[in-house]
């Protein structure tokens, strides 16, 4: 299978392997931060540049609107399911992570499309940026509503004691969100000329940097796997089944809107991926009682590998199949 033979994915496996065999290989934290900063800037600038070329079409606005809604509403369903087994805060946190998106999964899908010479639209990057935060707010609201009016006089719990400004800040001003949105705006504002200036750094070495970053992701994901021992079958299977269900909703939406093959695939990945960077950072503040050793490993060590190894080619095949029969 071609994607599995692409360098970035193979470097992810290499990282997993290195952790498995207890190698001392490590990517220093500041390097990991630089790599993700680069990837966010690169995808943001490119998306903004493409958007400035295509302009904000009706299709673009429609998809972006649906993306926001999906991020805000999907957590309601997942939360209900997760509450069957998990504490209120943990269920809300995981629902938020899965409602939001994983930029690296999206970027890996973009690299897949580039390999396969399948075009995609810049507004998908915009949709990614727009999907990061709503799920966080929904998750926090769900957690608060559940305890509202409860006896606990704890000021932070309950919808009453909710500091909206603070919640907005924590959900929308996370570093990753700022860089992605900011780069997109800059790419949009500077258009052709701006892109020409940054392209040698922000486009050409892109896949190579992705190799370095996925190597580190492999190292980290494998390390985090251990945390899931306590998690149990229910949670781990949710990490896959839940992701696929959401991903298929994305496929369906793309099909109904008659989006292109590439755009539908990216939409599926946005719906079906779970955040392990922006959302956890926000939830430490907004939902401190939720256990990060549950929602981070689930998104990082289960859903992320599943998506880049199985999910992307799977949605690719499904979309090709159904694209034979357009909606009437």
């Amino acid at each position: 299978m071609d994607l599995l033979l692409s360098p970035p994915i193979l470097f992810f496996f290499l990282g997993v392997l290195a952790t498995m065999v207890k190698s001392d290989l490590e990517v220093p934290k500041p390097v990991a931060r630089l790599l993700s900063l680069y990837l966010l800037m690169a995808i943001g600038l490119y998306g903004g540049y493409k958007l400035s070329a295509s302009g904000l079409t009706g299709e673009a606005l429609a998809v972006m609107g649906i993306a926001i809604l999906a991020s805000a509403l999907m957590p309601l369903g997942t939360y209900a399911v997760l509450r069957l087994r998990l504490s209120n805060d943990d269920a809300a946190a995981i629902a938020a992570a899965f409602g939001s998106i994983s930029a690296v999964t999206f970027i890996t899908a973009v690299a897949f499309l580039q390999e396969a010479d399948i075009p995609y639209s810049g507004y998908l990057v915009a949709s990614m940026a727009l999907m990061e935060s709503p799920a966080i707010i929904s998750g926090v609201l769900l957690a608060r509503l559940a305890v509202s009016g409860s006896a606990k006089g704890e000021e932070r719990s309950g919808i009453a004691g909710l500091d909206w400004r603070e919640l907005g800040r924590e959900s929308m001003l996370n570093g990753a969100v700022i860089v992605l949105v900011g780069s997109m705006v800059i790419g949009y504002a500077t258009g052709e000329k701006g892109w020409a200036a940054v392209e040698p750094l922000m486009y050409d070495p892109f896949k190579g940097v992705l190799c370095l970053f996925l190597l580190d992701m492999g190292l980290i994901a494998a390390k985090r796997l251990g945390d899931l021992r306590r998690a149990g079958v229910f949670l781990i299977s949710f990490g896959i089944v839940g992701a696929v269900v959401q991903g298929l909703i994305g496929v369906g939406v793309g099909w109904l809107l008659g989006l292109s093959h590439g755009d539908t695939l990216l939409l599926a990945i946005l719906f079906g991926s779970a955040s392990y960077i922006a959302v956890p950072a926000a939830l430490r503040l907004a939902l401190p009682a939720a256990n990060p050793s549950l929602y981070i490993p689930l998104a990082l060590a289960i859903t992320f590998p599943f998506n880049i190894i199985v999910g992307i080619p799977m949605y690719h095949a499904i979309i090709r199949a159904i694209s034979a029969t357009p909606p009437t």
Partner: protein, 98 residues
């Protein structure tokens, strides 16, 4: 050279600002903050914050007088209960510029 209480605090990096606010409100003269590479505690293992600060800790070193101590511990304890981490208190002698 004067006797002081030597205070060490380990806290999730996202909650560091809350701790610094406490120290400032108490008017403590200064603080030294260092990065924590890894660690583990009741809430399991912590990483070095490769991807986000969500799972990384910070180490704070500060000093206060014996009379400031009760107010400090009283202000810190709820943070530790809510967010985890720890606070170590020991005796030391301080040399400062004046």
């Amino acid at each position: 050279m004067r006797d002081v209480k030597r205070i060490e605090i380990v806290i999730d990096k996202p909650h560091e600002p809350a701790v610094l606010d406490v120290l400032r409100d108490l008017g403590l003269p200064g603080v030294t903050v260092m990065d924590v590479a890894t660690g583990y505690g009741d809430r399991g293992a912590r990483d070095g914050g490769e991807l986000s600060d969500a799972m990384s800790n910070r180490y704070l070193l500060t000093t206060c007088t014996a009379d400031q101590l009760p107010a400090l511990t009283e202000a810190i304890e709820p943070l530790l209960h809510k967010y985890g981490g720890l606070c170590l208190i020991s005796d030391a002698q301080l040399i400062r510029n004046a």
